[in-house]
Amino acid sequence: MLIQTVDLCKTYKNGLEALHNINLSIEPGEFVFLTGESGAGKSTLIKLLFREQQPTSGFIMISGKNINRLGRKDVVRLRRNTGVVFQDFRLMENSNVFDNVAFALKAVERPWEEIKTRVPEVLEWVGLAGREKENVMHLSGGEQQRVAVARAIINDPLILFADEPTGDLDPNTSAELMKLFEQINAAGTTVVMATHDQDIVEKMQKRVITLRKGRLVNDAIGGFSL
């Protein structure tokens, strides 16, 4: 078991209960969709999973460790083994493609020689070969999201978390991005993706976890359910 949540609850400071008693487990190599209508708690669950927020009660185990009780060093190790992608890409606007991707390797203090060879490799892998010098703001939405994905996977994470990565993309571009996610998953990375895009979920036929008003209401392979 790679990820396990135990009686996970999250109540925001304003008293809103965003998640209630979520118990789920995810095996290594799985591809999991997290769906549910707006406000169901998808983003909240993703944030808890990559430790952006702490649960109100319950806990999360990743690779056998309670991530809510980690020391500083282990938090750093956990983050080096997880990649995150967001709906709004979160790229550095004034930089080119290379710098945006290289940033993730610099942040974990990899040697420059490695960065020089590794970045073009990953860019090729996400379909942006030879685009290193281009400013990210001159790219299309789909291409920008590929840069963000390249940045998220360049450290070979065990898990890739994505919160509505196709939210701002048109259907064709979304389908392209999902192919990339499938490749990443096929290469061994566990993918957990929050989305409310029914078409994508239907087409992919993966495991689908459905939330409603903060509760887990369905967990099955296949189609979209609300």
Binding site: F50, R51, G83, R90, F103, V108, E109, R151, N155
Partner: protein, 294 residues
């Protein structure tokens, strides 16, 4: 964190300092002004201290003779003073010579004319003690002489000077604290701007698993650079001012002990750079604290 990683950290620092250039400028100016004033104060304090110490070592006593003393009493007085235990030499300084001396010290040749032709000084015996341990006892003896009006010697002035140094120190400390506070606030503001501008990058660094040290260093460096630049400018200004003040003092008030530039620059440089770096460190500490609580 690896030492080698500084090559990824330095560019971040300079990029952001250039990006909010006017804030960087304002911060450097504030540090310059506050460190300039602090450095001048520091120079003042060490000089007053030097004067006090020099006076403490001074073994001379001036005994002023009463106006109505008869001429024939002068010789007897001379020998009486010489007979006091611990007196090494006694020299007579007439009121005319006294005025000339003073005029010489202040670089003014015609003091008498400046004072409207009236010499306010009394005649005086200048007494040299064998050592400074004897000064107080000699002064005490001199007080019992009816012909002697007033006694001046180092230690008295020393006490006053030390009182002055204490006042200066306390005043200076308060001034320095206020100045330091202003500098830290401005550095913090400047770095807070950088933090805001780089919020997204900080988040990405965090999520990718950068260590806190790696995230913090660009900001610490920014603080250190701001502090350092301010310190260097302040030092330059202060030392130039000091140089000119020295020339002025040497010309007009030569009896004051003033430490030459060669004697003060090392400690002053250490003082200013140390203060600059410290303020820079402090300034970079606060804006980042809440971002890093992972």
């Amino acid at each position: 964190m690896k030492m080698k990683s500084f090559r990824y950290i330095f560019p971040q620092t300079f990029k952001s300092m250039l990006a909010n250039g006017w804030m960087t400028f304002a911060a450097v100016m504030t540090i310059t002004i506050s460190l300039f004033l602090c450095t001048l104060f520091w120079l003042l304090v060490i000089n007053v201290d030097a004067n006090a110490t020099a006076l403490e070592e001074d073994v001379r006593i001036s005994a002023y003779i009463k106006e109505d003393t008869q001429d024939y009493s002068y010789d007897r007085l001379y020998y009486d003073i010489l007979a006091i235990e611990g007196v090494e030499a006694v020299e007579y300084i007439s009121r005319e010579d006294g005025l000339k001396n003073i005029a010489g010290r202040f670089g003014n040749t015609d003091l008498l004319a400046a004072m409207g032709g009236v010499n306010p000084l009394p005649d005086c015996y200048s007494i040299t003690a064998e050592s400074k341990d004897h000064v107080a006892s000699i002064a005490k003896k001199l007080e019992s002489f009816t012909e002697i009006d007033d006694i001046r010697y180092g230690e008295e002035t020393v006490d006053r000077l030390f009182a002055l140094t204490d006042t200066l120190r306390i005043g200076g400390l308060i001034l320095m604290l206020l100045m330091a506070l202003a500098a830290v606030v401005l550095i913090s503001m400047s770095i807070r701007l950088t933090v805001m501008a780089r919020k997204k990058e900080i988040m990405v660094m965090k999520w990718t698993g950068a260590t806190n040290a790696f995230i913090r260093w660009p900001f610490i460096l920014e603080g250190l650079f701001l502090g350092l630049m301010g310190a260097v400018l302040a030092l330059g200004l202060a030392l130039v001012c000091y140089h000119y003040a020295l020339g002025y003092i040497a010309q007009y008030v030569s009896f004051l002990v003033v430490l030459p530039l060669s004697a003060v620059w090392q400690t002053t440089v250490l003082f200013a750079l140390g203060a600059g770096l410290l303020l820079g460190m402090l300034g970079s500490f606060f804006p980042l604290a809440r971002f890093l609580d992972v």
